[in-house]
């Protein structure tokens, strides 16, 4: 099944990036990947992502800095963010921005289910507002 929502993976570990990209592409998700925060920012400036899967500890602009940038974007254009953690980070995340964390080591099945859930939620979040009144009948 081919999905439309774009996903951005941001991780400095080549093998982890390859793993996440492979798994999600196999499920039909269009995926871009960035090696650090700088590359991520470049991609975020050119394409609209529904979901960012973000590692925190990276050289050349870490995940926290990327989160700060994303937090400044208008709510309607912000992607959802899943943070990759090793389970040791104590930081509380802005729940308007970070929809969840995925702890390493990744359970591949759980990861895919989580991504699917996030994209469904993202779709719901971006639906146009319902009209409050029916248009007047001109007949």
């Amino acid at each position: 099944m081919r999905h439309e929502k774009l996903i951005l993976i941001v991780d400095d570990d080549d093998a982890i990036r390859a793993l996440l990209t492979t798994v999600l592409r196999r499920r039909g998700y269009p995926v871009d990947a960035a090696r650090n925060g700088v590359e991520a920012m470049e991609l975020l400036g050119t394409r609209q992502y529904a979901l960012v899967i973000l590692d925190l500890m990276m050289p050349r602009m870490n995940g926290y800095e990327v989160l700060e940038h994303l937090g400044r974007l208008p709510v309607m254009t912000r992607p959802f963010v899943l943070v990759l953690t090793a389970g040791l980070e104590q930081r509380k995340f802005d729940t308007n921005l970070v929809v969840g964390t995925i702890q390493k080591p990744f359970d591949i099945e759980l990861l895919v289910d989580t991504v699917a859930g996030c994209l469904v939620a993202a779709e719901g979040a971006q639906l146009p507002p319902m009209p409050t009144a029916m248009p007047e009948d001109t007949n």
């Binding site: 080549d14 793993l19 492979t22 090793a86 389970g87 390493k104 080591p105 990744f106 591949i108 099945e109």
Partner: protein, 151 residues
């Protein structure tokens, strides 16, 4: 000797080990197998593997024992550990030891593609151990072609 990245399968179950070997030997990697933790540790002491597929449900806890001892013995090794497990078995997964987990029953295509994609991007150590023997998969291929001569 082949320059393809080497992959180690650690699986105590003969049938599963044979199945994993058959799947992975058709990927562009050299494949070795180990049935016990001792056998696996012996192999990683002689050769730098890009990736290890380790069954956490092995007999005698061989998978967990191997991973733990391997990380203790060679903390700088870059080997990417892809674990497989029965999701019903609740095993603690240390993120410092294991990169990712695939649940059984295995999705064969996914496993093969993950091994293929990940093994080729794992960083090679600055001074890699010179693997003393060709990979089992190379030997098998040469035997099938009739071109293998044992030492």
């Amino acid at each position: 000797m082949n320059d393809e990245p080497r992959v180690l399968i650690v699986e105590s179950n003969d049938a599963l080990r044979a199945m994993l070997f058959t799947i992975l030997r058709h990927q562009p990697v050299g494949v070795d197998t180990a049935a016990t933790a001792a056998d696996a540790l012996q192999k990683v002491s002689q050769c730098d593997y890009a990736l290890a597929v380790v069954d956490l449900d092995c007999a005698n806890n061989a998978g967990i024992t191997f991973i733990t001892r391997f990380r203790e013995d060679r903390p700088d090794a870059t080997t990417f550990i892809l674990a497989v497990r029965d999701p019903k078995n609740d095993v603690y997964l240390d993120p410092d030891l294991i990169a990712a987990v695939l649940n059984k029953p295995l999705e064969i295509d996914t496993l093969a593609e993950l091994v293929r994609e990940c093994a080729h991007v794992v960083p090679v150590p600055e001074e890699p151990l010179p693997c003393p023997n060709p990979a089992e998969s190379d030997i098998r291929t040469r035997m099938e072609r009739g071109s293998y001569v044992a030492n």
